[in-house]
Symmetry: C2
């Protein structure tokens, strides 16, 4: 895997610049990416899945070649705090998740992770310190196999392009006769 190899300090710098600030999720993302990478076979055709859209995708984008725009990072929102790196030919990979059963000796992490206090009442710097001290000890790994429909979704991205008869803008014809925006499914209020 071509890796964006960074030291921890370089990573923190990138997080500040790219993500806008260093929060506990991004520190966890460092150790989770590290664990996933260490346990994968070598190969050039690796991709990633994040099981939450919150923060973790940015750790993956900074630390691996997988980004949203290059199609190598997918978000499959199960609401769980986990990332997976997988080899696309076989669809086999390593899933890393923050393991609740390993948090008994880390009260600040546990409180943050389970939102036991409102965010503004928790000292995030203490959470970050515990995350750094715990290193990779609070995560668990499992081998996973990716659903074929997820692997195939990318290979099929060959849709033709033509102008929408309503707005006149070019769009992917696979999405219908009119573009989704002209069918009321765009993000804007109609005028």
């Amino acid at each position: 895997m071509k890796s964006k190899d960074l030291t921890f300090e370089e990573y923190v710098g990138r997080v500040t610049d790219f993500h806008g600030g260093v929060d506990p999720d991004m520190i966890a993302g460092w150790f989770m990416s590290d664990l996933a990478k260490q346990n994968l076979p070598n190969g050039d055709s690796l991709e990633a899945i994040c099981e939450t859209a919150h923060c973790l995708p940015d750790a993956v984008q900074i630390l691996t070649p997988c980004t949203i725009g290059n199609g190598m990072l997918k978000i499959a929102d199960t609401g769980r705090f986990a990332i997976t790196l997988f080899e696309i030919k076989k669809g086999e990979g390593i899933r890393v998740f923050l393991d609740l059963t390993k948090l008994d000796i880390w009260p600040e992490i546990r409180c943050w992770f389970l939102k036991e206090k409102p965010r503004h009442k928790q000292d995030l710097n203490m959470v970050i310190e515990e995350l750094k001290e715990a290193e990779t000890s609070i995560y668990s790994l499992e081998r996973v196999k990716i659903k074929p429909e997820i692997l195939e979704a990318k290979r099929k991205n060959t849709s033709a392009i033509r102008p929408c008869p309503s707005c006149g803008e070019a769009f992917r014809t696979e999405l219908g006769d009119l573009c989704p925006a002209c069918r009321g499914k765009g993000p804007y209020i109609e005028r």
Copy 2:
């Protein structure tokens, strides 16, 4: 707007490192982001929408403070080649799109944009040269107002977290009694 101010050469370097290579979409993304930023009022609470998941989100992530992981970039897939920067309080913004009606004098861009030839039969370097020469002349702008449900989706991200009774992992309770993965909606094949 706190901006990731880069020169074009610095941007190309970041694209190579982050996105994995410089393609026409990423060059278009440079000019589109520039146009959107120039036409927005100043403000610190700007966010972005990409109307495609293909490439353009990476241009936005490199050139603006908006990323997938920090929640300031949303993908609303209308299949159109457009980005929007908007002010979150009023929900008003500037949408920039590649304008088909402006492509008559740019045959390489037109051929690439409408996929008139298979990708492997088109010289992408010539497309990139035309995109650089055309600068911002091939895009159009419109003022848009963002749907309230999109603006509110972020504000409501306060879901409680608890362990899934099936897998034991913590997940956002708003997603159901069991986590989506334990309801067959995860990205992995069950074992």
